[in-house]
Amino acid sequence: MKLLVVDSEEIYRDIISTCAQARDLKTKTAASMEEALILFNDWQPDLVSLEVLSPSGDGIELIKQLKEAANDRIIPIMVITFKSDDATMNACIKAGADDFLAKPFNEILFNTRLSTHLRNVLFSKESFQKNRDLIYFQSMIEREHRMAHQVLAHAMDRSEDDDVSVAVTRLAATSFNGDIALIKRRDDGALLLFIGDFTGHGLPASIGALPLTQAFFKAASEKSSISEIAKHFNSILIDILPDYMFCAAYLLLLKPNNVLEYWGGGMPHAFIIDDEIDVQSIRSKHMPLGILAREEFEDEISQVKLLPNTKVVIASDGVLEMCNDDGVMLGDERFNAMLSCHSNKIPVGAYQAALVEQLIAFQGNAVQLDDITLLTLNT
């Protein structure tokens, strides 16, 4: 630790320096106000001792200048002075001094006060370092999020989000939405869809996404069954994900005859909105992907025959758990009401836009806590 001793009298520069050196402090001395300011800026001491009485300038003014030069760093200034009246003390403290001792020099008193100031300096240095570390790690995470976003965006590039029968909306809670939505129209006219919600957020989620995406498009071109795809996806994930990570998902196949086949694990129920605005639901029957071993995995699918002009709405759990300004969750009932609000006969894009508008209105200014993925299908 470095102490700058400012005093116009040599004997005091010596006494104070010697005392400090006995405490293992490094010292430098300044005889004048200008010298003090120059040394303060160049040498960057951790503490300063200062006599305000000086032929070379205004000591109080120097205190102000030193405090300004320090900026927001904690550099205690101990005034050690002959001018020990109350008015001077007040002026010094007001100018920014941290301590005030009267001469003649009292070694014991000086040492006691020095201990306190040293403790403060150490503490503030630690905080400063921790702060810097935090900022560093924060920017690293932001960089990783951007990387994950890029990886995921690239992986989902082949997804046919603009297919006539589909509308997809993805809203990220932080800088990055870890949910995946994949869409592919097969050459037999069937529509294959995958909606996946990985545990957690960010980079870990995108790791699982890459191999799943490749497998998805391969399965689409090979016209694999939903059961096969689900089994395959599960195998991929149990191999690469740690045991505390998994992927809640819906795998759906909408055939040209409007039969909808699906496998669901860990996702909240999806909604079927048809002619009578009768909101039925599609339910997850299985555990999420990436938990059960190959031999335990259950690939049973469900099937539902849909009428023409029926909408199917799939929402990740972030939708139903969305909170408004009062901290109230959206929940099933309110969401059902929103689904029934507009005719299910309008084009899927318009229906989705109207739905999203209602959701955003509900949220108000509340912070979005989870990623939101909303997909609407049209038969």
Binding site: T199, D243, F246, A248, G266, M287
Partner: protein, 100 residues
């Protein structure tokens, strides 16, 4: 303390009580809580009475526990409120845990 562990005297039952928000911030503490009881116990009860909120990270932590703890030990997730119970059932956790 967000997590308290109680070992019932003269029994082969361990209770782990979680308080507040069961999320990623409890990752290390939760793991430490059950690490001493991996074998030799008949029941491990995770008491959710005081848990207000549960996210997918917590589900992951429960799965990790199930994988580490002996298959002879029954893991019971007890006293969940309806919101939490719903989350557990949607992910079919009843296949790996006893949910009461």
């Amino acid at each position: 303390m967000s997590i308290t562990v109680t070992v019932e005297q003269n029994s082969d039952r361990v209770g782990i009580r979680v308080v507040g928000s069961f999320d990623f911030s409890l990752f290390n503490d939760f793991r430490s809580a059950y690490s001493d009881y991996l074998t030799g116990f008949k029941e491990l009860v995770v008491d959710m009475q005081a848990v207000e909120y549960l996210d997918s990270a917590a589900l992951g932590m429960l799965l990790s526990m199930r994988n580490s703890v002996s298959s002879d030990t029954d893991i019971i997730i007890a006293n969940s409120n309806s919101f939490i119970r719903n989350i557990l059932m949607i992910s079919r956790f009843d296949k790996r845990f006893t949910i009461t």
